[in-house]
Amino acid sequence: MRADEDRKALDKELKRWEETTLREALKSLPERRAEFLTTSSRPVKRLYTPLDLAGKTDEDRLGKPGEFPFTRGIHPTMYRGRLWTMRMFAGFGGAEDTNRRFKYLIGHGETGLSVAFDMPTLYGYDTDAPEAKGEFGTCGVAVSSLEDMKILFAGIDLRAVSTSMTINSPASAIWAMYLVAAEAQGAPLSSLRGTIQNDILKEYQAQKEWIFPPEPSMRLVVDTFEFGAKEVPLWNTISISGYHIREAGATAGQELAFTLANGMEYVRWGIDRGLKVDDFANRLSFFFNAHNDLFEEIAKYRAARRIWAREMRDTFGAKNPRSWLLRFHAQTAGVSLTAQQPEVNLVRTTVQALAAVLGGAQSLHTNAYDEAYQVPNEAAARLALRTQQILAHESGVPNTVDPLGGSYFLEALTDELEEEAYRYFDRIQGLGGVIPAIRKGFFQQEIANSAYRYQREIEDRERVIVGVNDFVVDEQPEFEVLRVSEASLKAQTARLNKIRRTRDSKKHAAALDRLRKACESDDNTMPFLLDAIRAKATLGEICDVMREVFGAYEEPLLY
């Protein structure tokens, strides 16, 4: 009763304001546009009040930090206890080039490593494969062999650092390479901390770096869950990624919904394998985009935590509160970077990074201003890291937990995004689940529609992008162009040749044969991958075996 009366009183008061103060103001100064939209074309109201938050209590909606439903953060003290990990995505050229960049970034204060692999590596080809022509080291580092992996981390103590690796289709093979390289350093597997992206579902939906069809790919993912839970317990065996879904043009709501739907699909596959949900759920991690619209992004992260906690506890019956936690890495939006006036990207990235911090990210990559063109040059990468250091040490933002909690606008937006996600979950279920929906092109079409609408809004100047369709200057950008050196390519090719020439060919063939049999059976492939790596099989050779057994995926074309 009390609440009802309060609501009525508020409603009356709001109406009074609208009819007096607001009406007067609009007479002398009309608003700039008929409708105000977020980056995702979501309409935003003029004013939010407690009336927008009816239907739920603060306790249901927010809880306390470190407690269910974790809307305000996964940890009771958040950044007062420990700052987010400053993890700069890096990789270009050969292993030596990238090793130098890692050391440079560590030297300037980054607190975690993140490996970007080149295209051939992402598609499971060695540097000297015909498919790799022209692509060596352009978008990341080439890693074809255990030797490359060892050089990549030479002089870096893998017991002391956490390493994230952005690798998907060949994730288990690359992880096996990392584990063997760590062993060679004398690091026990149980001491290793890090993350493999290993999120194949979003490849079919958005990023398109698949190799095999969905079912065998999912089996490889679950192999890593099972192996990791037993042997590498501190490792995040997946980073369920909305980032690429968003980069492909999705809205914030689609990013949220598709990522969490994928997350739940991985949980179902793990349970179907016979794993107990609490044995692997605490090693599932997430990766979200940090795009332009400050409040919409913050709301997205908060809604994600709340949905995941509820689904893990109530739908999947996880008992361990650690299984309920949605821990996430954020990266500022590469797709928002402009080739025009590239230095302006520094400012964009700062606002985006602020969203990630206000949204409670566990780790963060900030893009460099030259990244519309290239893998960042050294100076640009350092500036990007400095952006995070400013937020951490000068802005005051990390001083309190969830500083925007309770904002009428933010809480209403969080609720709205949550509802949008559940509407998508229903549609996906209606299509028979995530994989059938992929085969029907559902996600792909939804994303394409959003991407097209956004591009049209820019071209029709309904949406201003500074330096692109307004505030344009006629000058060529100046920055140092980073080129991959021919010498690196020669060194890499020579190393591969030497490995193939000098390894024990019998041992090598036998290990690949055992791997093939494991792929054909229901055995966990991880131990066989480790053996193949120890027998000096290259990434391309391993993936060739898998390509032969599993076949290649072809996507449905949409028009």
Binding site: M119, Y123, P130, E131, K133, G134, E135, T138, C139, K208, T338, A339, Q340, A372, Y373, Q374, Q455, E459, V468, Q476, V481, V484, E555, L557, Y559
Partner: protein
Amino acid sequence: MEVIYTGLRQTPEDIVEAAIQEDVDAIGLSCLSGAHMTLFPEVVKLLKKRKSGDILVAGGGIIPEEDIPKLKKAGIKVVFGPGTPLREIVAFFETAGEGA
């Protein structure tokens, strides 16, 4: 105008083969990885080798300004850089079609 999309990750050989099979007037290439200096000229070279050098080749993507003259010299008719409106690209192909 009929458009044939060959999908992602095509090698220059795949692209040239498809273009000849489908008897196209023009090929549009997109490359964001930085491999354009290798892959775009390779397509032109293979077309010439297959006596199909009259097929127009256009390119687009994140192409540094300094690479554009080199690509044009290698036979890429036009390079669409970042920020090119869709309608400009469509208009180019329409005009090119009229000339043919």
